[in-house]
Amino acid sequence: MRILVVEDEPDLLRTIAKALREKGYAVDEATNGSEGLSYAAISRYDAIVLDMMMPVMDGAQFLGSFRKLYSTPILILSARDTVANRVNGLNLGADDYLTKPFAMPELFARLQALIRRSLGTSENITTIRGVTINFGSRLVNVGSRSVDLTAKEFSILEMLVLKKNRVVTRTEIYEHVYDANEDSMSNLVDVHISNIRKKIEEDIIETRRGLGYIISV
């Protein structure tokens, strides 16, 4: 899953990005609204974390321009905490509002919920042919055996599960797993897929030659 964080406080931006990357998300960092719009023009994101008070272009202006083009879920992260502020933020087209200071687990949970819902499911745990995937705790079980996946591997599996019954191309996977900071080869995706298959021992991921991968239910 690929996330854009738009935040003008550099230390906070770095911290949020690092925390999300450790959870297996691909994260791009923008320090103001116009930078955020530039990123959005290049890549497709599964969710956006947006600060409201920023120089050059603030969160409201960003929402105004962004919402005309995309429906990506947006979570506002703001120090403005009055009801009016929150209502205004949501009315501008945001999907959720979290006030600073916030707890990291809450940010993760809310982002997870936003992404899940945008992909058309609201369950937190899915079981496919005996393989149980918990999006909240980011754990995978096959029967009673727990599978130890890396963050990237889980991320790829998560994407395939959330987009089940659809063919997901390598490029899509690549875009959603690697952010602009990383410079990896696209065949790494194949390596990750084969690792996931080995670890799960249950072949739920099918390869559609020349197209990509699919989990069909």
Binding site: A19, E22, D81, K100
Partner: protein, 499 residues
């Protein structure tokens, strides 16, 4: 509801009501009394006129006799012989003389006399006619208990004179021809009953008027008080949360419109003040939350899994930086709070302003040379009455700004001299300048010309607001002039100290 009499006297409405009612009662009583007096007087005048006329009538009747005859009580009345004319003819026979009894029979009050009660059954007018030595000639209709002796014993005058006796009797008495005493009187019982009835009617009508008047005054008082009640109701609706309501001057009487206007302006000022306060609180909260968020997020991230010592060090550095920012901010807020509070803890003393400025320049020298900026100063000795700590803070702040927003190799010129009994401190840089759109707002709290730049330089957004506060606390003025890419000049004027 507890009925408290003092609340009645404090109520404008009740006061209005009370005074209006009292006035109305006075007017009704006075006009009623005047009217009653007029009725009373005309009643008695009518009686008196009738009695006088009756007395004079009796007088005229007696005059058809020679006075001596009257004096003797008509005893010598006789028939005089017929007069024979020289030609032998006899004049027409004279009208036969009336006998004494005949005359006395005729001596009465004729019905035509216009005395009230003349033809009624009660309060019949009475009369007494006597000779000068009280020999009764005739009396008629004397009321019961009437004492003739008492009445005849009183004084008589040639002209009719009026007196009032007990038992509501009114009499006219006069001396007629031959010293005859004439008394005509009348009991006034009917008149008094009539007057009493009229008085009752007056009181009744007056009371009805008073009741209506009090009702009307109640309505009027309510009507008068209503705009005031409305105004206070509107004022009550206003609270700290909603100061947007205003009194509509078009719906208020002109006398109160001034008050409404004053209240509206007060509301506006309060509204502005509250919204400034809210804005300030929101800004302060935002500014405090941001570093707090950094500390929390960094800590949570660091603790989420084991880290290398380098990662921990980075996290602690970030937290430290954030806490420094918070400290700066809290210091700034505290400084502002002190400036806002009363002057009690603001100690003023005689200060050499030039010493303060050179102290600040020497403190900031290293910072300036690090940024390759030269500090040029031209200071004249000026003494002012001021608070050294806050003044130093202000000068530091302005020179620091001049260094930070300068270009490498730039220059900061600081001049201090005395103009027109004012200490004039100018801090001029040839840095980036401030655009015209930002210039009016630079002294506002949390106003940032360039947010990103200000954050790098560690500003709290309060520096210039504090400077302005300090200057104003010293009864001085601070102004700014700026041209983009040419530079900015801050000028401060403070009153000089005089013995």
């Amino acid at each position: 509801m507890v009925w408290d009499i003092s609340s009645v006297f404090k109520s404008l409405r009740w006061k209005l009501q009370f005074f209006y009612s009292a006035l109305l009662a006075t007017v009704i009583t006075f006009s009623g009394s005047v009217f009653y007096y007029q009725v009373w007087r005309s009643t008695f005048a009518e009686v008196d006129r009738g009695l006088e006329a009756a007395a004079l009538y009796l007088d005229v009747m007696l005059r058809s006799f020679p006075p001596p005859a009257i004096q003797q009580g008509f005893d010598m009345l006789s028939i005089s012989p017929p007069i024979v004319k020289p030609d032998g003819s006899s004049p027409p026979p004279p009208r036969p003389r009336r006998s004494k009894e005949q005359f006395l029979e005729e001596l009465r009050l004729p019905k035509e006399l216009n005395i009230p009660g003349m033809n009624g059954l009660r309060d019949q007018p009475y009369f007494i006619v006597t000779t000068s030595n009280d020999k009764l000639l005739k009396k008629d209709f004397l009321p019961p208990g009437y004492s003739e002796e008492d009445s005849l014993g009183r004084s008589f005058y040639p002209r009719p004179s009026l007196i009032t006796l007990k038992n509501n009797l009114r009499e006219v008495r006069m001396i007629g021809p031959g010293g005859a005493k004439i008394i005509v009187g009348k009991p006034l019982n009917q008149e008094f009953i009539r007057l009493r009835n009229i008085a009752f009617q007056f009181v009744g009508i007056g009371f009805v008027f008073l009741v209506f008047g009090v009702g009307a005054s109640f309505a009027i008082a309510s009507r008068m008080v209503r705009p005031i009640t409305q105004m206070s109701a509107t004022a009550e609706l206003l609270s700290e949360k909603d100061l947007s309501k205003r009194l509509d001057p078009n719906q208020i009487d002109s006398e109160l419109a001034g008050l409404a206007d004053v209240l509206n302006r007060l509301f506006s000022r309060l509204d502005a003040s509250f919204s400034r306060q809210r804005q300030f609180t929101a800004d302060a909260s935002h500014e405090l939350r941001t570093p707090l968020t950094v500390i929390r997020s960094v800590s949570e991230l660091s603790l989420s899994q084991p880290r290398s010592s380098q990662e921990y060090q980075e996290a602690i550095e970030v937290s430290l930086k954030a806490s420094e920012r918070m400290t700066n901010l809290v210091d700034g807020l505290l400084a502002l709070a002190r400036l806002d509070s009363s002057s009690a803890d603001f100690h003023l003393q005689q200060i050499n302003l030039n010493d303060l400025v050179s102290e600040s320049i020497s403190l900031l020298g290293p910072m300036a040379s690090e940024k390759q900026i030269s500090l040029v100063s031209e200071l004249h000795a000026v003494q002012i009455l001021g608070n050294a700590e806050s003044l130093l803070r202000m000068i530091d702040n302005l020179i620091t700004n001049a260094i930070i927003y300068n270009k490498p190799g730039g220059e900061v010129v600081i001049t201090l001299d005395c103009e027109n009994n004012k200490a004039s401190l100018k801090i001029k840089d040839n840095g980036v300048g401030i655009t015209e759109e930002h210039l009016p707002f630079v002294f506002e709290r949390f106003y940032r010309v360039d947010k990103a730049r200000s954050r790098i330089s560690g500003g709290s957004g309060l520096g210039l607001a504090i400077c302005k506060g300090v200057v104003e606390k010293h009864n001085g003025a601070i102004t700014v002039q700026s041209v983009v890419d040419v530079g900015t000049t801050f000028q401060i004027q403070l009153p000089v100290w005089k013995d």
